[in-house]
């Protein structure tokens, strides 16, 4: 079976390409009707299973939209951004952007970003979280210049009004720790004890963590947070984020320099 025939077979199955279908008809040992029916089975399997994979990755979006609407959006996304690897865990990271390009409401795009963040946190690598004890062991001058390495299972999000509460109420994500729905503009998703948790943040905390997750030092993160919120409470922000498992480690001093 030549590589060219496989390319044509894939085009017939994935895109319904009629020229490609003609090539398969010529190579098939079955009748025209039978061959086209077989191609249709493969096309349906491909589109349905990939749509299902997207639905599994974006359950809240699927729950919010009608089945037909979601399927149509999925079909467009599959055509434009098909998976490049068989492990579908990793596919779909650009689906929120695709929804935005399709002029979907901002709230739906935000649900997609929350679903994606949950998905990434759920399956992220295991790693011990940085503790307050480790941080407090640093001398004061080193502490201000300390750079904290983000935990692999930590994601920060900035959201439009109502999106977080809507997402929590949808409750279609396995393993999401029970928390009372409450809206928040800023959220940290993490997996401190094996289960995905959400932590609502105020503006100061969000910019503090955003600076740290971007590689900034503690003092720079504090300055950024204080500029946003003059009442920013450093001790509370550190305590809450460390308890949530937002960081993995402290960058060694030599790397800071």
């Amino acid at each position: 079976m030549s590589p060219e025939l496989q390319t044509q077979f894939a085009a017939a199955v994935r895109l319904g390409d009629s020229q490609a279908s003609a090539a398969i008809l010529a190579a098939s040992g079955a009748s025209r009707e039978r061959t086209l029916a077989a191609l249709q089975i493969h096309a349906s399997t491909t589109s349905e299973t990939l749509t299902e994979a997207l639905r599994d990755s974006f359950p809240t979006v699927a729950d919010r939209l009608s089945a037909g609407r979601f399927a149509k959006l999925a079909a467009g996304f599959i055509r434009r951004s098909p998976p490049r690897q068989a492990a579908l865990w990793f596919w779909g990271d650009s689906f929120p952007d695709y929804l935005s390009e399709q002029a979907m409401p901002e709230a739906v795009v935000a649900l997609a970003r929350l679903d994606r963040a949950w998905h990434e946190v759920f399956a992220a690598a295991e790693a011990p979280a940085l503790t307050a004890q480790s941080l407090s062991a640093l001398p004061a001058d080193a502490l201000t210049q300390a750079v904290l390495v983000s935990h692999p299972a930590a994601r920060l999000l900035s959201l439009p009004d109502g999106a977080f509460a809507t997402w929590q109420r949808a409750a279609c994500l396995p393993g999401l720790a029970d928390e009372a729905p409450a809206d928040a503009a800023y959220v940290l998703l993490s997996r401190p004890e094996g289960q995905v948790h959400t932590l609502s943040l105020d503006g100061g905390e969000y910019h503090f963590l955003q600076t740290l997750h971007g590689g900034g030092a503690l003092l720079a993160a504090f300055d950024r947070a204080a500029a946003v919120d003059p009442a920013f409470d450093l001790q509370s922000a550190l305590s809450r984020s460390l308890a949530a498992g937002a960081f993995r480690s402290i960058t060694p001093q030599k790397d800071v320099r």
Binding site: P3, L5, T49, P83, A86, A124, A153
Partner: protein, 282 residues
Amino acid sequence: MITDKIPPVAGVGLKPRHFAAIHAAPRRAAWFEIHAENYFCAGGPPHRHLTAIRADHPLSIHGIGLSLGGAARPDRAHLDQLAALVRRYEPALVSEHLAWCAADGVYLNDLLPLAYDETTLERFCRHVAEVQDALGRPILIENPSRYLSLRDDMSEGEFIAQACARTGCGLLLDVNNIVVSAGNLGLNAETILAGMPLKRAGEIHLAGHSLHRTDAGPIRVDDHGSPVRPEVWRLYDRALAATGALPTLIEWDNAVPDFALLLAEAGKADRRIAASQSRHVA
């Protein structure tokens, strides 16, 4: 961790919706099979559950995405992830498919048919050998469900027998797939079975399939969404008579039932294995 071989009894596919039932009462299933790609994630609950379940049960790892029949070599990153999974969980069996699922860098998430000719065979064997080298062990190759044939120069059984001889791989005999292919290609299922290299079989798969009415006549669709059909059970009896007792997997991947129903289906396979052994002794 149990490292023994998988016993020649029925096992079931491991599904996340059954994790709680399995933890609540371990060892009700004799062994489990996973789809490798579902555990390519770095960590989190999937691995936590699998680690706990693996401690009490033998395991088989079944790949669905290596595209061994594809024009391109097996994807190196995919192969590295599979090798890491095999090292981590020490499965008794590792298997893949006689099919392709990726072309020009795009993954189609379906098992697509090959033309059974020498060109394809030579390429397929190279890919199987590369995988076996990477894993440091032989793998089993599953005969696929087919909806059309593409100018074959040899039968499926001859193709697989050649692959086994050239690479040292074994056969994962999917009895349901034989019934599906026979129905769709106008072939005799028992003839297909007899043509397989049954002495190289190391595992059997059973599953449900559905019948679809089309303008071109009925088509059997291998959807793994229902109980094993009677004609598949009958062919399974024939297969057991030829192979002897083998580890047999009940695959149920869509509309997944309660764990108890899945175990009941495995129980049917166990009774047939026992009956085949008593016939063999008699």
